[in-house]
Amino acid sequence: CTGDFEEINTPPTSVTTVDPGLLLSKVQKDAAFAEGYEVPNSQYGSWIQHWAGGVLVSSSRYIEQSDNNTWDAHYTLIRNISQVRNEVLKGKENDPSGRSKLAIARIVEISVWQRLTDLFGDVPYSGTALGPADVNTKPVFDTQESIYKSLINDLNAAIGQLTAGDASYGSADFYYKGDINKWKKYANSLKLRLGMRIRYADPALAQKTVTEAMGQPLLESAADDATVPTYNNATNANVHPVLNQFLAGSPDLKYLADAFVTQLVASADPRLPRIAQPSVNSVKAGTPAYKGIGVALTDELLKTIIKDDYSTVSTLTFFNREYSPAIPCMVMSFADVSFYKAEAALEGWGGTATEAEKYYQDGVKAALAQAPYNVTAVPAAFEKELSWTGLSKEQKLEKIGTQKWIQLFGRSYEAFIEWRRMGYPALKPGPFQGSTGGTIPRRTIYSSREALLNKANYEQAVSRLSKGDSYVSKVWWDKR
């Protein structure tokens, strides 16, 4: 009597196929939220001196350690999104019921791949994500250069597949609710980002890619921003990741870095009170003031810190569960695109030098207008930040880099990536020597699990790094 065995052995709480929208939602949300939580903020966010970090997250003091969580999380995102092309919608590439959905899934996947290689450098790419039936247990690490070329090609193909009138993901698509036109803008903007990222490593390909993208519709206003909504009066899994850090994180890791606060104060940035909180002691003393903590401090300096003398993130906005409407989690903004356009136009790639300054100003204004700053009129004291009058090209780049750095607060991966690429703003490393001899890390370290289980390929990839699998080796495009 083994007749009922198959029924007995059917899993009761899971299914063997699923609507692809559920996978898309999962990946869009997880990918967006991933860069704003306590750990990335305290590591990458501290390296680029948004956050103070601290002794609790020793990597913030440049002490090297493998970044297993980031590595795992990105390959998990890729597993889930690649199921759409490998299984769920496989074979529907030319069918309206699958064509645009597949293209959208591919575009999201490309954005995840880009972030992964930007953080680590060479990563397994071509030999993986082939589906559960064809798993490669020892995927080779591809060079970042080849990955970028492939991503640009794949993105071009995906853009070509986006077809109005095809079946849509509907409300499962957090970014655009299935709006194909917006997806086209997003995809072109992603192409712009891919091209700009490699501008110092492969100027020819960068120019071609950027110029092509500049000729296509890009994100045009805040209405085109790709975001994932957040919900305050819900579980901590649904709140904005920076609010999640406030609710679930350590009180010791809620402080901002000195460089960041100083920049906001010095430039009379209207976003200051909505980013930072005046220190407890200054408020007690009746003279509210903002002050950040130095990063990567030595033990001796740490002992001199009385936390109440320093600023946390603002409890009016990010650290406020009552803040309404809940702050959307930003994936790519009109401000991002404007800064890229400004940089491209400065090079004459699809724009002129005059247009560049306007693009820059668009970017700053869009950044000020973003939630939770909502600054729509530029205050007089801040006007100077919008002007390029009398600046050299490098100074203009520094302006772009600095405003981008502020705009990317809360997006710690992207902020770290763009800071390395542009080399702006100039940041002074913290005094603690850590494993880097007192320099700011330029990449993060491969997963120790990967090193253990894919040893030969790992070692081959490490041999291509100038200073080994360390914080101080640079990825291919990092030339600044």
Binding site: T2, D4, F5, E6, I8, N9, P11, P12, T13, S14, V15, T16, L22, L23, S25, K26, G54, V55, S58, I63, E64, Q65, N68, W71, Y75, T76, R79, Q83, V123, T128, V135, T137, P139, A172, Y231, A234, T235, N236, A237, N238, L247, A248, S250, P251, D252, V280, L302, K303, T304, I305, I306, K307, D308, T312, T315, R321, R449, E450, L452, L453
Partner: protein
């Protein structure tokens, strides 16, 4: 055999059996033949049979034994009495038991009653006797009457036997007469009559008896000599004295090859029993528990992990040790092949007590009370208090402002030292000033004196009290017997508020419905309620967790006020804007942190397990060689758990508290049908054959809810929470089996056993779900085969076996699936694909085991030796082989790997001293050494990670034993001689620039053993057990905390700046690397600076420094029992009174761990906690007493 008493032992030589004529044969020989044919013991007084002859044709093999006995004895004036299964005693006829039992014979009328059992056979001696008579009762060590004990007047032909109530009466000539009491399986006793008219005797069990019957697979009782594989049994007393709350823990140190570790998880926690080493990478390698033939579910759903959790106890912990008659351990597949796939880790067979035929109701009552307190605590220092650099960290100026210590010193500020809350060693470590009673303000603003607080554990924790009451009623007659017992266990745990209450009701009835049909019914109900079980491992609401790092100057009374007050909030330092009035007040500021007082006062958990173990067995004896048994049994329980944490609890979401409630219903049913054949072949060859089939079904369903953030305070219900989510789980599986087993014996010295089984499992695909595994074993008794009769060598046996056992893995392992996230995002559901790649073509695992053994006894059985060698290998394990994350999957489920366990087991026992006046010393030593090797993993897989914790991975790697500890942290720089390199400038040891994976050692012991000594004198017995484990390493997470925070004595030397790190001075070579100069370091540093290199924080330690040697020799048990002599209790209504005192976990003769118990530190019983200690609750030392009376 003793003079005058014949017992047809299994070892008795076959006697003149060549004669086949129908001429008269001696009755004795005829009885012998019966014994051989039917395998029964027939007891008689030798004299009774003198010269009696019967016709040789009187024995008819086609009849039953009893029919034959009737025929044989018909003309002899003798009759027989069946005293137990397969045991008969011959008595003279015209028995007058009825009269005897109504009233004890009057002494005056005792001139040897007319129809005394011996009267008709000894007419000539009658006149000489009858001067006086002696009577009394013979009981065993437990006070049970012994029936059929031979009582003889030494040197005469006069004798009798005890009746069903154990009473006897015999005539003696004079006061110098010596009575000899003897009974099979008991030590013979001689008593001088003297002036006594009543002699009550307690016979001690003869532990050296030749015929040791053990319970084997399928519950079949076998003579141990016939077994070709290893079975070890412990019985009654070893279980019921020095009670462990968890029955499985009773096995510790008592059996070769059985390793027992207990989880450090409070009252009612789980145990880990591993027999002959781990043979599976997944799961827990624990044996199958079978109770009265019915497998029990021993799982422990949601067991704790390295980051917290609560141990709600496993299945075996629910059993009442008092109900257990014996525990038989079948070691490995050779012994257990008949239990199918779950037998591959060995089987623990538990036989519970059943009733006995007796007159009236036997009432037994036992009470056991014990008190436990911590045996091992961290070795705290009580010299330096909270602070850093030998000073306070902060200062409260007279102006009310808070300064750093340095700023206050530099600015010559007036005021008072101030402590700060914090999360790292900079504020809350005990690297501060010497505690001299100076005034300071603590982190909440209390002005206190800076004094040592040595008794943090003692103040918070309580003595554990365990009270066990047991009452049993039993009785019956030849046709029906019953036993009804009630056990009640009350434990007041070590952690305040932690209680466990358990009721066990057990009813067992065996009835002969007809002479051929027997019914056996058992119902065992267990109701267990646990409350406030502690969280364990690396979780701050583990009550022990914070004490290990708590500043040594922080008074417990401050923490006892566990909620923030307005004044605390106003004067606090280091907590930022987090605290509010009424919130849990903690001394640390971690994102999840706890105050143990809050934990016990404001968080609650409770669990309620209702369990029924039921059994119905019917057996029908067609004739004397065919028996059919059908049985069905169930293990059925509901486990209900509730946990809530009040609003304000630091760890709960947004400090608003949470609640979870879940109900798990588990049911495992087993039905068997078994045909047993014992055909009579020839005189020399015996044969037994069992054919059986089994159907097993497992079902487990969990439903529940969790709610976070209470809306209204004080109402702890799911519907009072902001966010709810469900809990759901369902598991089902089924196995069908057919099996066969047989035994062939030749001339009682050569035995061959064989078995074969085929399973069909629902967890594999139809193409692969049927699998077969055979076993065969042989036993050869050399002493009997070659008729060796020697005073030196009493018994010698060789045995060998080879066996296989299969296993089919867990349900739902064949298909990859999508599952939904618990929490949708704004109403949009989120799904992900499983991280394990399934293989629909999975096959069963297969363990193959080979075993050889020798058993020998010497000096008339005064000393014994048992030795075994085994080699077992498990192939085709169903493994989730880990994949590199870049494959996008975490693991792939395949058949892979081979793990081999080879080992030796040695048991030595002996009776070094045994005197005529009843003093004896029995000693047993067991030793086992298991060599585990991971032979292969999957192709291309070099490492299988069993468990990970901060700073350490526990892995299996080919070519190495299971349980390799791999450090994941910094490594000392060393010179070629292994000396640490010391930085010449700082005087501190140098370490690697970044974290490195490097091997630290192995968690498995080299050998384990036990040494048990029992001294007996009259009614007193004293028994002591040493439990030994040598080798193996434990990685201690507690030690790390203690070093980071400077709380233990190890951190005291050199605090004044005189610490000299061991190592050689280094110098920097031209290429920038450090090399040794060979010169020993002499530079003095502060202890704080040295230890901060070793362990600056949780994540950046030097793992090798946290490694402890797990070797220990523990004085595990000491019991002293006193059986009151019958002379004392004969005038009371009691039949037996036994009192005892005991101690358990008394002390270590050897221990190398720092501040924790090596054998009781794991946080769960799975492979993943092997070799890891993580803020274990202390092992408790118990002292207790017990009293057992019988009415």
């Amino acid at each position: 055999p003793p003079p005058g008493f014949g017992q047809l032992l299994a070892s008795a030589r076959p006697l003149q059996t060549e004669t086949r004529q129908t001429q008269p044969v001696r009755l004795r020989d005829a009885l012998l033949k019966l014994k051989e044919s039917y395998g029964a013991d027939i007891l008689f007084e030798e004299k009774l049979l003198d010269d009696l002859k019967v016709s040789s044709a009187a024995v008819n093999p086609s009849r039953t034994l009893e029919q034959n006995l009737d025929a044989l004895l018909a003309s002899t004036g003798l009759k027989y009495k069946k005293i137990k299964e397969n045991t008969y005693v011959l008595l003279a006829s015209k028995d007058r038991r009825k009269k005897d039992s109504n009233a004890a014979p009057n002494r005056e009328s005792s001139a040897l009653p007319q129809d005394s059992p011996l009267a008709s056979l000894s007419p000539l001696t009658r006149a000489e006797v009858a001067e006086s008579a002696v009577r009394g009762t013979v009981v065993d060590a437990k006070g049970e009457p012994l029936i059929g004990v031979s009582v003889l007047v030494n040197g005469t032909t006069r004798g009798t036997a005890t009746d069903v109530t154990g009473k006897y009466e015999i005539a003696v000539d004079d006061a110098s007469a010596v009575l000899v009491f003897s009974f099979v399986g008991y030590v013979r006793k001689e008593v001088v009559v003297g002036a006594q008219s009543e002699i009550n005797i307690t016979l001690a069990e003869d532990t050296q008896n030749l015929s040791e019957v053990v319970v084997t697979a399928l519950g079949i009782k076998r003579d141990k000599r016939a077994l070709g594989y290893s079975v070890q049994e412990i019985g009654g007393e070893a279980i019921s004295t020095a009670k462990e709350a968890n029955l499985a823990t009773t096995l510790a140190g008592k059996m070769a090859g059985v390793q027992v570790t207990r989880s450090a998880n409070g009252a009612g926690g789980s145990s880990r029993v591993v027999i002959r080493g781990s043979n599976s990478l997944v799961g827990n390698s624990q044996p199958l528990y079978v109770i009265d033939g019915i497998p029990m579910d021993n799982s422990n759903p949601n067991s704790p992990s390295s980051t917290g959790g609560i141990d709600y106890g496993d299945g075996i912990s629910n059993i009442n040790p008092e109900d257990v008659e014996s525990i038989s351990v079948l070691k490995g597949p050779n012994a257990a092949a008949l239990y199918g796939q779950r037998g591959s880790n060995g089987v623990v067979l538990i036989t519970t007590k059943s009733g006995k035929s007796r007159k009236g109701i036997g009432i037994k009552y036992g009470i056991d009370y014990s008190v436990g307190d911590a045996l091992v605590l961290p070795d705290f220092q009580d010299e330096y208090g909270q602070g850093l650099d030998g000073a306070f960290t902060h200062f409260r100026g007279s102006d009310g402002k808070i300064y750093t210590w340095a700023a206050a010193q530099a600015g010559n500020i007036q005021g008072m030292p101030k402590a700060s809350g914090g999360r790292d060693r900079f504020t809350r470590s005990s690297w501060g000033a010497r505690m001299d009673g100076q005034q300071y303000e603590d982190q909440w603003g209390n002005v206190l004196n800076f004094t040592p607080q040595p008794n943090t554990f003692q103040t918070f924790f309580r003595k554990e009290k365990q009270l066990v009451n047991n009452l049993s009623l039993e009785g019956g007659n030849d046709n029906i017997n019953y036993r009804l017992s009630y056990g009640r266990t009350d434990i007041d745990g070590y952690t305040p508020g932690n209680t466990l209450k358990r009721n066990n009701v057990n009813l067992r009835t065996v009835a002969k419905i007809t002479s051929k049909l027997e019914l056996d019914v058992k119902a065992n109900y267990i109701g267990q309620k646990g409350a406030n079980r502690p969280t364990v491992s690396d979780a701050s609401d583990n009550p022990a967790y914070l004490f290990i790092s708590q500043p040594r100057s922080m008074p417990m009374s401050i923490l006892a006020n566990s909620a923030w007050t307005a004044e605390d909030v106003a004067k606090q330092l280091g907590y930022g804007t987090v605290p509010f009035v009424g919130m849990e007040k903690t001394y640390a500021t971690n994102s999840s942190t706890a105050n143990p007082y809050w934990t016990v006062d404001h968080t609650r958990n409770s669990d309620d397990r209702q369990r029924l173990l039921g059994l119905i067995r019917l057996s029908y004896q067609f004739n004397d060689w065919i028996r059919l048994t059908a049985k069905t049994g169930t293990d059925f329980y509901t486990d209900q758990r509730l946990r809530y944490r009040e609003k304000g609890t630091y760890q709960s979401a947004n400090r608003n508290g949470d609640i979870s409630e879940q109900v798990t219903r588990v049911r495992e049913d087993n039905s068997d049908i078994l045909l047993s054949l014992t055909p009579q072949l020839t005189k020399d060859i015996s044969l037994g054959l069992n054919l059986g089939a089994n159907h097993q079904k497992f079902y487990s369903r969990t439903t529940g809810n969790t709610g976070t953030e209470f809306i209204v305070p004080g109402l702890y219900a799911i519907n009072n929470t902001l966010i709810n989510s469900y809990v759901f789980g369902l598991t089902e599986s089924s196995i069908n089996s057919v099996y066969l087993s047989g035994q062939v014996g030749y001339k009682e010295y050569l035995f061959l056993d064989f078995s074969a089984r085929n399973d069909w499992s629902s967890t594999l695909s139809p193409a692969n779900n049927s699998f077969f595994y055979p076993a065969v074993s042989a036993s050869f008794v050399v002493t009997d085969a070659f008729n060796i009769r020697s005073n030196t060598l009493s018994f010698l046996k060789f045995r060998a076996s080879v066996a296989q056992a299969g296993s089919s893995g867990s349900p739902y392992q064949l298909t990859g699936t999508y599952s939904l996230d618990q929490v949708a995002h704004g109403g949009v559901p989120l799904a992900s694909f499983s991280s394990t790649i399934p293989d629909p073509n999975l096959k069963n695992e297969l363990t193959t085991s080979l075993e050889f053994g020798v058993e020998a006894r010497f000096f008339k059985n005064r000393a014994g030796l048992a030795f075994a060698y085994y080699n077992a290998s498990t192939k085709n394990q169903i493994l989730d082989v880990p994949l590199p994350p870049s494959s996008t999957f975490a693991s792939r489920r395949i058949n892979a790997g081979e793990i081999r366990n080879r080992g030796v087991e040695l048991t030595l026992n002996g009776t070094p001293i045994k005197t005529a006046d009843g003093f004896s010393w029995d000693a047993t030593f067991n030793f086992s050494r298991n060599r585990n090797q991971v032979v292969a993993l999957a192709e291309g897989v070099d490492t299988y990670v069993l468990g990970t914790d901060r700073g350490v991975n526990v892995v299996a790697e080919p070519g190495k034993p299971f349980g390799t500890l791999i450090g994941n942290g910094f490594q000392w720089l060393r010179d070629d001689n292994g000396n640490r390199l010391i930085d010449p400038t700082t005087g501190l040891p140098l370490k690697s620039n970044s974290k490195i994976l490097y091997e630290l050692g192995n968690a498995l012991p080299n050998w384990i053993g036990g040494f048990n000594n029992t001294f007996r004198y009259k009614g007193v017995s004293l028994s002591g057990l040493f439990d030994i484990s040598q080798g193996g390493k434990i990685y201690s997470q507690s030690l790390r905390e203690e070093l980071v925070y400077g709380t233990i004595k190890k951190t005291l030397p050199g605090r004044d700046g005189t610490y000299v790190a061991d190592g050689v001075v280094a110098s920097k070579s031209d290429n920038g690397t450090w090399v040794g100069t060979g010169q020993a370091n002499t530079k003095q540093v502060r202890a704080q600076d040295y230890w901060n290199v070793v362990a600056p924080d949780k994540d950046n330690v030097i793992p090798e420094e946290m490694l402890n040697d797990a070797s220990y020799i523990m004085f595990r048990e000491l019991t002293l029992n006193y059986q009151l002599p019958n002379t004392l209790i004969s005038r009371t209504p009691f039949k037996s009174i036994r009192a005892g005192i005991y101690g358990r976990n008394l002390f270590y003769l050897q221990r190398k761990t720092e501040g924790f118990a090596p054998e009781a530190s794991s946080f769960n019983v799975n492979n993943s906690s092997l070799g890891l200690e993580s803020t274990a609750l202390p092992l408790l030392r118990y002292f207790g007493f017990s009293l057992n009376v019988e009415l």
